[in-house]
Amino acid sequence: MSMAVSSPGELTVTRGVDGTVVVRLAGSWRIESGLPSVAALEGVLADGPTSAISFDSRELGDWDSAVLAFLASACRLARERDIDVDRSGLPEGLRRLLELAEAVPEKDDARTSVIDDAFVQRLGGKAIDTHRLFRSDLDFVGRLVLAMSRAARGKARFRWSDLALLVQQNGFEALPIVTLVTFLLGLILAFVGAIQLQTFGATIYVADLVGVAMVRDMGALITGIIMAGRSGAAFAAQLGSMKVTQEIDALETMAISAMEFLVVPRVVALCLMMPLLTLYGDAMGILGGAFVGVTMLGLSPVEYLLQSADAVSLSHVVGGVFKGSVYGVLIAISGCLRGVQSGRSSSAVGDAATSAVVTSIVAIIVACGVFAFVFYMLGL
Protein backbone atom coordinates (compact mmCIF):
# COMPACT_ATOMS: atom_id res chain seq x y z
CA MET A 1 0.00 0.00 0.00
CA SER A 2 2.99 2.24 -0.15
CA MET A 3 3.85 2.81 -3.78
CA ALA A 4 4.11 6.52 -4.34
CA VAL A 5 3.55 6.63 -8.08
CA SER A 6 0.53 4.52 -8.91
CA SER A 7 -0.18 3.05 -12.28
CA PRO A 8 -3.88 2.25 -12.98
CA GLY A 9 -5.15 -1.14 -11.88
CA GLU A 10 -4.74 -4.10 -14.18
CA LEU A 11 -6.41 -7.48 -13.99
CA THR A 12 -5.43 -10.48 -16.08
CA VAL A 13 -6.90 -13.92 -15.77
CA THR A 14 -5.01 -16.72 -17.47
CA ARG A 15 -5.60 -20.44 -17.66
CA GLY A 16 -2.63 -22.72 -17.28
CA VAL A 17 -2.24 -26.07 -19.02
CA ASP A 18 -2.89 -28.06 -15.87
CA GLY A 19 -6.35 -26.52 -15.43
CA THR A 20 -5.36 -23.91 -12.83
CA VAL A 21 -6.46 -20.34 -13.27
CA VAL A 22 -4.12 -17.56 -12.26
CA VAL A 23 -5.55 -14.18 -11.35
CA ARG A 24 -2.94 -11.47 -11.67
CA LEU A 25 -3.56 -8.12 -10.00
CA ALA A 26 -1.22 -5.26 -10.78
CA GLY A 27 -1.06 -1.53 -10.34
CA SER A 28 -3.21 0.51 -8.01
CA TRP A 29 -6.77 -0.51 -7.26
CA ARG A 30 -8.79 2.19 -5.54
CA ILE A 31 -12.49 2.06 -4.84
CA GLU A 32 -12.98 5.49 -6.50
CA SER A 33 -11.93 4.08 -9.85
CA GLY A 34 -14.02 0.91 -9.78
CA LEU A 35 -13.69 -2.77 -8.88
CA PRO A 36 -11.71 -5.46 -10.74
CA SER A 37 -14.23 -7.22 -12.96
CA VAL A 38 -15.54 -10.51 -11.64
CA ALA A 39 -17.03 -11.19 -15.07
CA ALA A 40 -13.53 -11.67 -16.54
CA LEU A 41 -12.85 -14.43 -14.03
CA GLU A 42 -16.27 -15.93 -14.57
CA GLY A 43 -15.66 -15.98 -18.33
CA VAL A 44 -12.40 -17.90 -17.96
CA LEU A 45 -13.95 -20.33 -15.45
CA ALA A 46 -16.73 -21.04 -17.93
CA ASP A 47 -14.18 -22.06 -20.59
CA GLY A 48 -13.46 -25.45 -19.12
CA PRO A 49 -12.92 -27.49 -15.96
CA THR A 50 -10.71 -25.74 -13.43
CA SER A 51 -8.80 -27.46 -10.67
CA ALA A 52 -7.67 -24.46 -8.64
CA ILE A 53 -7.47 -20.69 -8.56
CA SER A 54 -4.32 -18.92 -7.44
CA PHE A 55 -3.32 -15.29 -7.21
CA ASP A 56 -0.35 -13.27 -8.33
CA SER A 57 -0.11 -9.93 -6.55
CA ARG A 58 3.58 -9.21 -6.83
CA GLU A 59 2.93 -6.09 -8.86
CA LEU A 60 -0.09 -4.98 -6.87
CA GLY A 61 0.37 -1.41 -5.65
CA ASP A 62 -2.24 0.44 -3.63
CA TRP A 63 -5.28 -1.57 -2.75
CA ASP A 64 -8.38 -1.10 -0.66
CA SER A 65 -11.89 -2.56 -0.37
CA ALA A 66 -12.11 -2.66 -4.15
CA VAL A 67 -9.75 -5.62 -4.28
CA LEU A 68 -11.29 -7.15 -1.18
CA ALA A 69 -14.79 -7.07 -2.69
CA PHE A 70 -13.43 -8.66 -5.87
CA LEU A 71 -11.69 -11.41 -3.90
CA ALA A 72 -14.77 -12.12 -1.81
CA SER A 73 -16.80 -12.59 -5.00
CA ALA A 74 -14.05 -14.72 -6.53
CA CYS A 75 -14.01 -16.99 -3.48
CA ARG A 76 -17.77 -17.28 -3.57
CA LEU A 77 -17.64 -18.25 -7.27
CA ALA A 78 -15.02 -20.86 -6.50
CA ARG A 79 -17.05 -22.26 -3.63
CA GLU A 80 -20.12 -22.57 -5.81
CA ARG A 81 -18.07 -24.51 -8.40
CA ASP A 82 -16.14 -26.58 -5.86
CA ILE A 83 -12.80 -25.14 -6.97
CA ASP A 84 -9.86 -24.87 -4.58
CA VAL A 85 -8.55 -21.38 -3.88
CA ASP A 86 -4.87 -20.92 -3.14
CA ARG A 87 -4.55 -17.66 -1.24
CA SER A 88 -0.82 -17.76 -0.67
CA GLY A 89 -0.22 -15.32 -3.51
CA LEU A 90 -2.13 -12.56 -1.70
CA PRO A 91 -0.65 -9.92 0.61
CA GLU A 92 -0.96 -10.76 4.30
CA GLY A 93 -3.42 -7.91 5.04
CA LEU A 94 -5.80 -8.95 2.28
CA ARG A 95 -5.75 -12.55 3.45
CA ARG A 96 -6.67 -11.57 6.99
CA LEU A 97 -9.49 -9.25 5.92
CA LEU A 98 -10.84 -11.96 3.66
CA GLU A 99 -10.90 -14.40 6.56
CA LEU A 100 -12.70 -11.81 8.68
CA ALA A 101 -15.37 -11.33 6.03
CA GLU A 102 -15.94 -15.08 5.93
CA ALA A 103 -15.80 -15.59 9.71
CA VAL A 104 -19.58 -15.55 10.21
CA PRO A 105 -21.27 -17.57 7.49
CA GLU A 106 -24.51 -16.19 6.15
CA LYS A 107 -27.66 -17.61 7.71
CA ASP A 108 -29.51 -19.48 5.02
CA ASP A 109 -32.90 -17.90 5.66
CA ALA A 110 -31.82 -14.53 7.03
CA ARG A 111 -31.73 -12.86 3.62
CA THR A 112 -35.18 -11.60 2.72
CA SER A 113 -35.99 -12.65 -0.79
CA VAL A 114 -36.53 -9.83 -3.24
CA ILE A 115 -37.94 -11.84 -6.09
CA ASP A 116 -39.43 -10.09 -9.07
CA ASP A 117 -42.90 -11.48 -8.68
CA ALA A 118 -45.28 -11.81 -11.55
CA PHE A 119 -47.84 -9.02 -11.82
CA VAL A 120 -50.70 -11.24 -10.70
CA GLN A 121 -48.73 -12.39 -7.70
CA ARG A 122 -47.96 -8.80 -6.71
CA LEU A 123 -51.60 -7.89 -7.14
CA GLY A 124 -52.62 -10.78 -4.91
CA GLY A 125 -50.02 -9.82 -2.32
CA LYS A 126 -51.30 -6.26 -2.30
CA ALA A 127 -54.87 -7.47 -1.88
CA ILE A 128 -53.90 -9.63 1.08
CA ASP A 129 -51.96 -6.74 2.63
CA THR A 130 -54.87 -4.38 2.18
CA HIS A 131 -57.21 -6.89 3.71
CA ARG A 132 -54.89 -7.35 6.69
CA LEU A 133 -54.50 -3.61 7.16
CA PHE A 134 -58.24 -3.12 6.96
CA ARG A 135 -58.77 -5.78 9.59
CA SER A 136 -56.26 -4.14 11.87
CA ASP A 137 -58.05 -0.79 11.34
CA LEU A 138 -61.36 -2.40 12.25
CA ASP A 139 -59.80 -4.11 15.23
CA PHE A 140 -58.50 -0.75 16.43
CA VAL A 141 -61.89 0.91 16.07
CA GLY A 142 -63.55 -1.97 17.90
CA ARG A 143 -61.15 -1.76 20.80
CA LEU A 144 -61.56 2.00 20.86
CA VAL A 145 -65.33 1.65 21.15
CA LEU A 146 -64.87 -0.71 24.11
CA ALA A 147 -62.42 1.69 25.75
CA MET A 148 -64.76 4.64 25.15
CA SER A 149 -67.63 2.78 26.73
CA ARG A 150 -65.46 2.05 29.74
CA ALA A 151 -64.57 5.72 29.84
CA ALA A 152 -68.25 6.64 29.71
CA ARG A 153 -68.80 4.47 32.76
CA GLY A 154 -65.91 6.25 34.43
CA LYS A 155 -63.75 3.14 34.45
CA ALA A 156 -61.13 3.99 31.87
CA ARG A 157 -57.70 4.91 33.16
CA PHE A 158 -56.31 8.17 31.94
CA ARG A 159 -55.01 11.25 33.62
CA TRP A 160 -57.32 14.26 33.68
CA SER A 161 -54.28 16.49 33.47
CA ASP A 162 -53.41 14.86 30.12
CA LEU A 163 -56.91 15.59 28.87
CA ALA A 164 -56.68 19.20 30.04
CA LEU A 165 -53.37 19.64 28.26
CA LEU A 166 -54.74 18.08 25.06
CA VAL A 167 -57.78 20.35 25.21
CA GLN A 168 -55.47 23.32 25.46
CA GLN A 169 -53.14 22.17 22.68
CA ASN A 170 -55.89 21.16 20.30
CA GLY A 171 -58.39 23.87 21.11
CA PHE A 172 -57.09 27.15 22.39
CA GLU A 173 -53.73 26.97 20.68
CA ALA A 174 -55.37 26.33 17.31
CA LEU A 175 -57.33 29.60 17.44
CA PRO A 176 -54.87 31.82 15.52
CA ILE A 177 -54.65 29.54 12.49
CA VAL A 178 -58.40 28.87 12.52
CA THR A 179 -59.03 32.62 12.71
CA LEU A 180 -56.80 33.36 9.77
CA VAL A 181 -58.04 30.62 7.48
CA THR A 182 -61.78 30.95 8.14
CA PHE A 183 -61.65 34.75 7.89
CA LEU A 184 -59.96 34.45 4.50
CA LEU A 185 -62.42 31.80 3.41
CA GLY A 186 -65.32 34.14 4.28
CA LEU A 187 -63.59 36.83 2.27
CA ILE A 188 -63.16 34.58 -0.76
CA LEU A 189 -66.74 33.37 -0.67
CA ALA A 190 -67.91 36.98 -0.51
CA PHE A 191 -65.86 37.95 -3.57
CA VAL A 192 -67.07 34.99 -5.58
CA GLY A 193 -70.68 35.73 -4.65
CA ALA A 194 -70.37 39.47 -5.20
CA ILE A 195 -69.33 39.12 -8.83
CA GLN A 196 -72.48 37.15 -9.65
CA LEU A 197 -74.87 39.06 -7.44
CA GLN A 198 -73.68 42.51 -8.58
CA THR A 199 -75.10 41.84 -12.05
CA PHE A 200 -78.57 41.64 -10.43
CA GLY A 201 -77.91 44.55 -8.09
CA ALA A 202 -78.53 42.17 -5.20
CA THR A 203 -75.23 42.49 -3.38
CA ILE A 204 -76.88 42.31 0.03
CA TYR A 205 -77.46 38.62 -0.63
CA VAL A 206 -73.71 38.11 -0.28
CA ALA A 207 -74.49 38.00 3.44
CA ASP A 208 -76.88 35.09 2.91
CA LEU A 209 -74.41 33.25 0.73
CA VAL A 210 -71.46 33.59 3.07
CA GLY A 211 -73.51 32.96 6.21
CA VAL A 212 -75.25 29.82 5.03
CA ALA A 213 -72.21 28.35 3.32
CA MET A 214 -69.94 28.89 6.32
CA VAL A 215 -72.37 27.71 8.96
CA ARG A 216 -73.76 24.71 7.14
CA ASP A 217 -70.63 23.20 5.63
CA MET A 218 -67.53 25.24 5.01
CA GLY A 219 -66.83 26.22 8.61
CA ALA A 220 -66.73 22.63 9.84
CA LEU A 221 -64.95 21.37 6.72
CA ILE A 222 -62.13 23.88 6.71
CA THR A 223 -61.65 23.68 10.48
CA GLY A 224 -61.54 19.91 10.12
CA ILE A 225 -58.87 20.11 7.44
CA ILE A 226 -56.77 22.49 9.54
CA MET A 227 -57.06 20.21 12.54
CA ALA A 228 -56.21 17.15 10.43
CA GLY A 229 -52.91 18.78 9.54
CA ARG A 230 -52.35 20.06 13.04
CA SER A 231 -53.66 17.45 15.48
CA GLY A 232 -53.88 14.35 13.29
CA ALA A 233 -50.21 14.57 12.38
CA ALA A 234 -49.26 15.43 15.95
CA PHE A 235 -51.12 12.45 17.39
CA ALA A 236 -49.52 10.05 14.92
CA ALA A 237 -46.06 11.43 15.60
CA GLN A 238 -46.52 11.35 19.37
CA LEU A 239 -47.79 7.78 19.49
CA GLY A 240 -45.34 6.64 16.82
CA SER A 241 -42.33 7.97 18.69
CA MET A 242 -43.64 6.46 21.91
CA LYS A 243 -43.50 3.17 20.06
CA VAL A 244 -39.92 3.78 19.01
CA THR A 245 -38.83 4.53 22.57
CA GLN A 246 -40.76 1.51 23.92
CA GLU A 247 -42.98 3.79 26.02
CA ILE A 248 -46.06 1.99 24.72
CA ASP A 249 -44.49 -1.39 25.57
CA ALA A 250 -43.87 -0.04 29.06
CA LEU A 251 -47.56 0.87 29.39
CA GLU A 252 -48.71 -2.51 28.14
CA THR A 253 -46.46 -4.48 30.48
CA MET A 254 -47.82 -2.40 33.34
CA ALA A 255 -51.28 -3.60 32.35
CA ILE A 256 -52.25 -0.04 31.48
CA SER A 257 -54.09 -0.05 28.19
CA ALA A 258 -52.51 2.33 25.69
CA MET A 259 -55.96 2.62 24.15
CA GLU A 260 -57.44 4.00 27.36
CA PHE A 261 -54.43 5.96 28.46
CA LEU A 262 -53.42 7.58 25.18
CA VAL A 263 -56.17 7.27 22.60
CA VAL A 264 -59.30 7.96 24.64
CA PRO A 265 -58.19 11.39 25.92
CA ARG A 266 -57.19 12.42 22.40
CA VAL A 267 -60.53 11.40 20.93
CA VAL A 268 -62.41 13.10 23.76
CA ALA A 269 -60.33 16.27 23.45
CA LEU A 270 -60.98 16.66 19.73
CA CYS A 271 -64.62 15.66 20.05
CA LEU A 272 -65.04 18.48 22.59
CA MET A 273 -62.94 21.10 20.85
CA MET A 274 -63.95 20.68 17.22
CA PRO A 275 -67.55 21.94 17.76
CA LEU A 276 -66.26 25.01 19.57
CA LEU A 277 -63.65 25.69 16.92
CA THR A 278 -66.30 25.19 14.24
CA LEU A 279 -68.61 27.76 15.86
CA TYR A 280 -65.74 30.17 16.19
CA GLY A 281 -64.69 29.56 12.59
CA ASP A 282 -68.26 30.20 11.39
CA ALA A 283 -68.25 33.56 13.14
CA MET A 284 -64.87 34.47 11.68
CA GLY A 285 -66.03 33.53 8.20
CA ILE A 286 -69.06 35.77 8.52
CA LEU A 287 -66.79 38.58 9.68
CA GLY A 288 -64.61 38.00 6.63
CA GLY A 289 -67.67 38.29 4.41
CA ALA A 290 -68.74 41.42 6.26
CA PHE A 291 -65.34 42.93 5.70
CA VAL A 292 -65.78 42.61 1.95
CA GLY A 293 -69.42 43.73 2.16
CA VAL A 294 -68.55 46.88 4.08
CA THR A 295 -65.32 47.90 2.42
CA MET A 296 -65.97 46.91 -1.20
CA LEU A 297 -69.71 46.61 -1.70
CA GLY A 298 -70.78 49.62 0.31
CA LEU A 299 -73.08 47.80 2.72
CA SER A 300 -73.43 48.95 6.32
CA PRO A 301 -72.10 46.58 8.97
CA VAL A 302 -75.42 46.42 10.83
CA GLU A 303 -77.31 45.75 7.63
CA TYR A 304 -74.90 42.97 6.67
CA LEU A 305 -75.02 41.24 10.05
CA LEU A 306 -78.83 41.47 10.29
CA GLN A 307 -79.13 39.96 6.84
CA SER A 308 -76.77 37.14 7.89
CA ALA A 309 -78.72 36.48 11.07
CA ASP A 310 -81.92 36.26 9.03
CA ALA A 311 -80.42 33.81 6.55
CA VAL A 312 -78.86 31.43 9.04
CA SER A 313 -81.26 29.22 10.96
CA LEU A 314 -80.63 27.34 14.18
CA SER A 315 -80.78 24.01 12.35
CA HIS A 316 -77.91 25.15 10.12
CA VAL A 317 -75.83 25.97 13.16
CA VAL A 318 -76.60 22.72 14.95
CA GLY A 319 -75.97 20.71 11.79
CA GLY A 320 -72.60 22.41 11.22
CA VAL A 321 -71.48 21.92 14.80
CA PHE A 322 -72.53 18.28 14.69
CA LYS A 323 -70.47 17.76 11.54
CA GLY A 324 -67.53 19.44 13.24
CA SER A 325 -67.55 17.05 16.15
CA VAL A 326 -67.81 14.04 13.84
CA TYR A 327 -64.80 15.34 11.90
CA GLY A 328 -63.00 15.74 15.24
CA VAL A 329 -63.56 12.09 16.10
CA LEU A 330 -62.42 11.01 12.63
CA ILE A 331 -59.22 13.04 12.91
CA ALA A 332 -58.39 11.71 16.36
CA ILE A 333 -59.05 8.12 15.31
CA SER A 334 -56.98 8.39 12.12
CA GLY A 335 -54.09 10.09 13.92
CA CYS A 336 -53.97 7.60 16.77
CA LEU A 337 -54.52 4.61 14.49
CA ARG A 338 -51.59 5.50 12.25
CA GLY A 339 -49.46 6.27 15.31
CA VAL A 340 -50.18 2.91 16.90
CA GLN A 341 -49.54 1.10 13.61
CA SER A 342 -46.24 2.91 13.14
CA GLY A 343 -43.01 0.92 12.86
CA ARG A 344 -40.10 1.25 15.24
CA SER A 345 -37.90 3.73 13.38
CA SER A 346 -37.83 7.47 12.89
CA SER A 347 -38.67 7.18 9.20
CA ALA A 348 -41.69 5.04 10.11
CA VAL A 349 -42.89 7.82 12.41
CA GLY A 350 -42.67 10.27 9.51
CA ASP A 351 -44.68 7.91 7.33
CA ALA A 352 -47.23 7.53 10.11
CA ALA A 353 -47.69 11.31 10.35
CA THR A 354 -48.11 11.66 6.58
CA SER A 355 -50.51 8.78 6.44
CA ALA A 356 -52.51 10.18 9.36
CA VAL A 357 -53.09 13.47 7.55
CA VAL A 358 -54.08 11.73 4.32
CA THR A 359 -56.39 9.32 6.13
CA SER A 360 -58.12 12.04 8.13
CA ILE A 361 -58.64 14.34 5.17
CA VAL A 362 -60.07 11.52 3.08
CA ALA A 363 -62.31 10.51 5.98
CA ILE A 364 -63.51 14.10 6.43
CA ILE A 365 -64.30 14.58 2.75
CA VAL A 366 -66.15 11.27 2.54
CA ALA A 367 -68.12 12.13 5.68
CA CYS A 368 -68.88 15.56 4.24
CA GLY A 369 -70.32 13.94 1.11
CA VAL A 370 -72.42 11.54 3.15
CA PHE A 371 -73.74 14.41 5.28
CA ALA A 372 -74.62 16.44 2.20
CA PHE A 373 -76.66 13.54 0.87
CA VAL A 374 -78.36 12.68 4.17
CA PHE A 375 -79.18 16.30 5.04
CA TYR A 376 -80.61 16.79 1.57
CA MET A 377 -82.82 13.71 1.95
CA LEU A 378 -83.97 14.95 5.35
CA GLY A 379 -84.75 18.31 3.80
CA LEU A 380 -82.47 20.26 6.15
Binding site: A110, T245, E247, A250, E252, T253, M254, A255, I256
Partner: protein, 257 residues
Protein backbone atom coordinates in the same frame (compact mmCIF):
# COMPACT_ATOMS: atom_id res chain seq x y z
CA UNK B 1 -45.79 -11.78 50.57
CA UNK B 2 -47.01 -14.99 52.17
CA UNK B 3 -48.21 -16.31 48.87
CA UNK B 4 -44.80 -15.60 47.41
CA UNK B 5 -43.03 -17.64 50.10
CA UNK B 6 -45.25 -20.63 49.42
CA UNK B 7 -44.64 -20.37 45.69
CA UNK B 8 -40.91 -20.15 46.30
CA UNK B 9 -40.82 -23.52 47.97
CA UNK B 10 -42.94 -25.47 45.57
CA UNK B 11 -43.09 -24.23 41.99
CA UNK B 12 -40.72 -22.36 39.67
CA UNK B 13 -41.48 -18.68 39.12
CA UNK B 14 -41.50 -19.11 35.34
CA UNK B 15 -41.59 -22.21 33.19
CA UNK B 16 -40.83 -22.01 29.49
CA UNK B 17 -42.22 -25.03 27.74
CA UNK B 18 -41.27 -25.98 24.19
CA UNK B 19 -41.15 -22.37 23.10
CA UNK B 20 -40.55 -21.56 19.44
CA UNK B 21 -40.07 -17.92 18.50
CA UNK B 22 -40.39 -16.62 14.97
CA UNK B 23 -40.75 -13.38 13.06
CA UNK B 24 -42.95 -14.38 10.17
CA UNK B 25 -41.20 -17.29 8.44
CA UNK B 26 -37.89 -16.60 10.13
CA UNK B 27 -37.55 -19.00 13.06
CA UNK B 28 -35.30 -17.44 15.65
CA UNK B 29 -35.16 -20.11 18.33
CA UNK B 30 -36.95 -23.39 18.69
CA UNK B 31 -37.77 -25.85 21.47
CA UNK B 32 -36.69 -23.69 24.39
CA UNK B 33 -37.38 -25.56 27.59
CA UNK B 34 -36.25 -24.24 30.97
CA UNK B 35 -37.45 -23.04 34.34
CA UNK B 36 -36.63 -19.97 36.37
CA UNK B 37 -36.77 -20.68 40.10
CA UNK B 38 -38.13 -18.11 42.51
CA UNK B 39 -35.28 -16.07 43.98
CA UNK B 40 -32.96 -16.73 41.05
CA UNK B 41 -30.99 -14.08 39.24
CA UNK B 42 -31.45 -15.68 35.89
CA UNK B 43 -29.29 -14.62 32.96
CA UNK B 44 -30.31 -14.99 29.33
CA UNK B 45 -27.12 -14.97 27.29
CA UNK B 46 -25.89 -15.65 23.78
CA UNK B 47 -24.27 -13.92 20.85
CA UNK B 48 -25.61 -10.80 19.22
CA UNK B 49 -28.81 -11.36 17.25
CA UNK B 50 -29.58 -14.80 18.67
CA UNK B 51 -32.92 -13.66 20.08
CA UNK B 52 -32.32 -12.71 23.71
CA UNK B 53 -34.36 -9.53 23.60
CA UNK B 54 -37.03 -11.39 21.69
CA UNK B 55 -37.18 -14.06 24.37
CA UNK B 56 -37.63 -11.33 26.95
CA UNK B 57 -40.47 -9.84 24.91
CA UNK B 58 -42.11 -13.26 24.88
CA UNK B 59 -41.75 -13.63 28.63
CA UNK B 60 -43.55 -10.35 29.27
CA UNK B 61 -46.26 -10.89 26.69
CA UNK B 62 -45.20 -8.34 24.06
CA UNK B 63 -44.70 -11.10 21.48
CA UNK B 64 -46.78 -14.24 21.08
CA UNK B 65 -45.06 -17.65 20.83
CA UNK B 66 -45.17 -19.40 17.47
CA UNK B 67 -45.43 -22.64 19.46
CA UNK B 68 -45.20 -23.68 23.07
CA UNK B 69 -46.14 -21.76 26.17
CA UNK B 70 -44.96 -19.77 29.15
CA UNK B 71 -46.18 -20.44 32.68
CA UNK B 72 -46.04 -18.06 35.61
CA UNK B 73 -46.09 -20.30 38.68
CA UNK B 74 -48.42 -23.07 37.63
CA UNK B 75 -50.62 -20.89 35.48
CA UNK B 76 -50.27 -20.52 31.73
CA UNK B 77 -49.50 -16.92 30.78
CA UNK B 78 -49.76 -17.67 27.09
CA UNK B 79 -53.26 -19.06 27.32
CA UNK B 80 -54.61 -16.65 29.92
CA UNK B 81 -57.56 -14.43 29.01
CA UNK B 82 -56.67 -10.74 28.58
CA UNK B 83 -58.16 -9.75 31.93
CA UNK B 84 -56.26 -12.42 33.78
CA UNK B 85 -53.11 -11.54 31.89
CA UNK B 86 -53.35 -7.95 33.09
CA UNK B 87 -53.54 -9.20 36.65
CA UNK B 88 -50.50 -11.40 36.12
CA UNK B 89 -48.59 -8.50 34.58
CA UNK B 90 -49.07 -6.46 37.74
CA UNK B 91 -46.69 -8.84 39.50
CA UNK B 92 -43.83 -8.04 37.16
CA UNK B 93 -41.63 -5.04 36.49
CA UNK B 94 -39.62 -4.39 33.35
CA UNK B 95 -36.56 -2.22 32.83
CA UNK B 96 -36.22 -1.51 29.12
CA UNK B 97 -32.90 -1.10 27.41
CA UNK B 98 -33.42 2.63 26.82
CA UNK B 99 -35.36 3.23 30.02
CA UNK B 100 -38.61 3.86 28.09
CA UNK B 101 -39.70 6.51 30.57
CA UNK B 102 -42.88 8.31 29.58
CA UNK B 103 -41.43 11.45 28.14
CA UNK B 104 -44.40 13.69 28.87
CA UNK B 105 -44.18 13.01 32.61
CA UNK B 106 -41.65 13.94 35.28
CA UNK B 107 -39.63 11.20 36.97
CA UNK B 108 -41.91 11.32 40.01
CA UNK B 109 -45.00 11.06 37.81
CA UNK B 110 -43.46 8.12 35.97
CA UNK B 111 -43.06 6.21 39.21
CA UNK B 112 -46.38 7.43 40.56
CA UNK B 113 -48.47 6.31 37.61
CA UNK B 114 -48.55 2.58 38.43
CA UNK B 115 -48.99 3.42 42.11
CA UNK B 116 -52.01 5.56 41.29
CA UNK B 117 -53.48 2.92 39.00
CA UNK B 118 -53.10 -0.16 41.12
CA UNK B 119 -53.02 0.90 44.78
CA UNK B 120 -55.40 2.60 47.18
CA UNK B 121 -52.80 5.15 48.27
CA UNK B 122 -53.79 8.83 48.32
CA UNK B 123 -51.90 11.58 46.50
CA UNK B 124 -49.49 12.48 49.29
CA UNK B 125 -48.69 8.85 50.06
CA UNK B 126 -48.01 8.21 46.38
CA UNK B 127 -45.66 11.17 46.21
CA UNK B 128 -43.87 9.86 49.27
CA UNK B 129 -43.44 6.35 47.86
CA UNK B 130 -42.34 7.72 44.48
CA UNK B 131 -39.69 9.88 46.14
CA UNK B 132 -38.50 6.87 48.13
CA UNK B 133 -38.16 4.70 45.03
CA UNK B 134 -36.19 7.40 43.27
CA UNK B 135 -33.97 7.75 46.33
CA UNK B 136 -33.33 4.00 46.27
CA UNK B 137 -31.77 4.32 42.82
CA UNK B 138 -29.81 7.42 43.79
CA UNK B 139 -32.07 10.00 42.19
CA UNK B 140 -33.30 11.86 45.26
CA UNK B 141 -34.01 15.44 44.31
CA UNK B 142 -34.69 14.69 40.64
CA UNK B 143 -38.43 14.17 41.13
CA UNK B 144 -39.48 17.06 38.91
CA UNK B 145 -37.04 16.49 36.05
CA UNK B 146 -38.31 15.32 32.70
CA UNK B 147 -36.64 12.22 31.18
CA UNK B 148 -35.12 14.29 28.38
CA UNK B 149 -33.27 16.43 30.92
CA UNK B 150 -31.23 13.66 32.57
CA UNK B 151 -28.40 11.45 31.33
CA UNK B 152 -28.82 7.98 29.82
CA UNK B 153 -27.57 6.24 32.93
CA UNK B 154 -29.94 8.26 35.09
CA UNK B 155 -32.80 7.39 32.77
CA UNK B 156 -31.99 3.76 33.24
CA UNK B 157 -32.01 4.10 37.00
CA UNK B 158 -35.28 6.02 36.89
CA UNK B 159 -36.66 3.21 34.74
CA UNK B 160 -35.61 0.81 37.46
CA UNK B 161 -37.38 2.91 40.09
CA UNK B 162 -40.53 2.72 37.98
CA UNK B 163 -40.16 -1.02 37.44
CA UNK B 164 -39.92 -1.46 41.22
CA UNK B 165 -42.87 0.82 41.95
CA UNK B 166 -45.28 -1.97 42.82
CA UNK B 167 -42.70 -4.22 44.51
CA UNK B 168 -43.02 -6.83 41.77
CA UNK B 169 -42.31 -10.52 42.32
CA UNK B 170 -40.34 -10.73 39.10
CA UNK B 171 -38.13 -8.06 37.58
CA UNK B 172 -36.96 -8.18 33.96
CA UNK B 173 -33.92 -6.29 32.71
CA UNK B 174 -32.81 -5.82 29.11
CA UNK B 175 -29.07 -5.03 28.97
CA UNK B 176 -29.02 -3.14 32.28
CA UNK B 177 -25.29 -2.42 32.07
CA UNK B 178 -25.22 -1.17 28.48
CA UNK B 179 -24.25 2.47 28.24
CA UNK B 180 -23.16 2.72 31.87
CA UNK B 181 -19.64 3.42 33.06
CA UNK B 182 -17.97 0.48 34.85
CA UNK B 183 -18.61 1.87 38.31
CA UNK B 184 -22.28 2.61 37.68
CA UNK B 185 -22.64 -0.82 36.11
CA UNK B 186 -21.13 -2.36 39.22
CA UNK B 187 -23.45 -0.32 41.47
CA UNK B 188 -26.39 -1.50 39.41
CA UNK B 189 -25.29 -5.10 39.92
CA UNK B 190 -25.13 -4.52 43.68
CA UNK B 191 -28.54 -2.93 43.56
CA UNK B 192 -29.94 -5.94 41.73
CA UNK B 193 -28.61 -8.33 44.36
CA UNK B 194 -29.93 -6.04 47.08
CA UNK B 195 -33.37 -6.07 45.47
CA UNK B 196 -33.41 -9.83 45.25
CA UNK B 197 -32.39 -10.21 48.88
CA UNK B 198 -34.59 -7.53 50.38
CA UNK B 199 -37.71 -7.82 48.24
CA UNK B 200 -37.39 -11.52 47.60
CA UNK B 201 -37.85 -10.81 43.90
CA UNK B 202 -36.92 -13.14 41.07
CA UNK B 203 -34.75 -11.42 38.51
CA UNK B 204 -34.38 -12.16 34.80
CA UNK B 205 -31.58 -10.37 32.95
CA UNK B 206 -30.52 -10.19 29.33
CA UNK B 207 -26.88 -9.23 29.21
CA UNK B 208 -23.53 -9.59 27.46
CA UNK B 209 -21.41 -8.31 30.32
CA UNK B 210 -19.37 -11.25 31.50
CA UNK B 211 -18.40 -9.42 34.68
CA UNK B 212 -21.98 -9.08 35.78
CA UNK B 213 -22.95 -12.51 34.51
CA UNK B 214 -20.46 -14.12 36.89
CA UNK B 215 -20.94 -11.61 39.70
CA UNK B 216 -24.68 -11.94 40.07
CA UNK B 217 -26.07 -14.74 37.90
CA UNK B 218 -27.28 -17.75 39.85
CA UNK B 219 -28.64 -19.58 36.84
CA UNK B 220 -28.69 -19.05 33.11
CA UNK B 221 -29.65 -20.22 29.69
CA UNK B 222 -27.43 -19.92 26.61
CA UNK B 223 -29.11 -19.31 23.25
CA UNK B 224 -27.17 -20.26 20.16
CA UNK B 225 -27.67 -18.41 16.90
CA UNK B 226 -26.36 -21.21 14.72
CA UNK B 227 -28.34 -24.21 15.94
CA UNK B 228 -31.19 -21.87 16.90
CA UNK B 229 -31.91 -23.38 20.23
CA UNK B 230 -30.59 -23.34 23.79
CA UNK B 231 -27.34 -25.24 24.07
CA UNK B 232 -26.68 -24.81 27.79
CA UNK B 233 -28.62 -24.26 30.98
CA UNK B 234 -27.13 -23.87 34.46
CA UNK B 235 -25.21 -21.54 36.76
CA UNK B 236 -22.87 -19.36 34.65
CA UNK B 237 -19.75 -20.16 36.66
CA UNK B 238 -20.36 -23.87 36.25
CA UNK B 239 -20.92 -23.46 32.53
CA UNK B 240 -17.66 -21.59 32.20
CA UNK B 241 -15.67 -24.26 34.01
CA UNK B 242 -17.42 -27.43 32.99
CA UNK B 243 -19.61 -26.97 29.95
CA UNK B 244 -19.22 -29.71 27.38
CA UNK B 245 -20.04 -27.26 24.67
CA UNK B 246 -17.19 -25.51 22.92
CA UNK B 247 -19.25 -22.46 21.92
CA UNK B 248 -20.53 -21.86 25.44
CA UNK B 249 -17.05 -22.11 26.92
CA UNK B 250 -15.63 -19.78 24.30
CA UNK B 251 -18.35 -17.20 24.95
CA UNK B 252 -17.84 -17.30 28.70
CA UNK B 253 -14.05 -17.14 28.39
CA UNK B 254 -14.00 -14.32 25.86
CA UNK B 255 -13.01 -16.51 22.96
CA UNK B 256 -10.40 -18.67 24.71
CA UNK B 257 -11.49 -22.26 24.99
Amino acid sequence: MEARAVVAESTPAITVRNLTMAYGDFTLQRDLDFTIEAGDIFVIMGGSGCGKSTLLRHLIGLNEPARGEILYGTESFTKAAPERRSEMLRRIGVLYQSGALWSSMTLAENVALPLGEFTELDQSEIAEVAALKLALVGLAGFEDYYPADISGGMQKRAGLARAMALDPDILFFDEPGAGLDPISARLLDDLIIELRDSLGATIVIVTHELASIFAIGTNSVFLDAESRTMIAHGPPVELRDQSQNERVRRFLRRGES
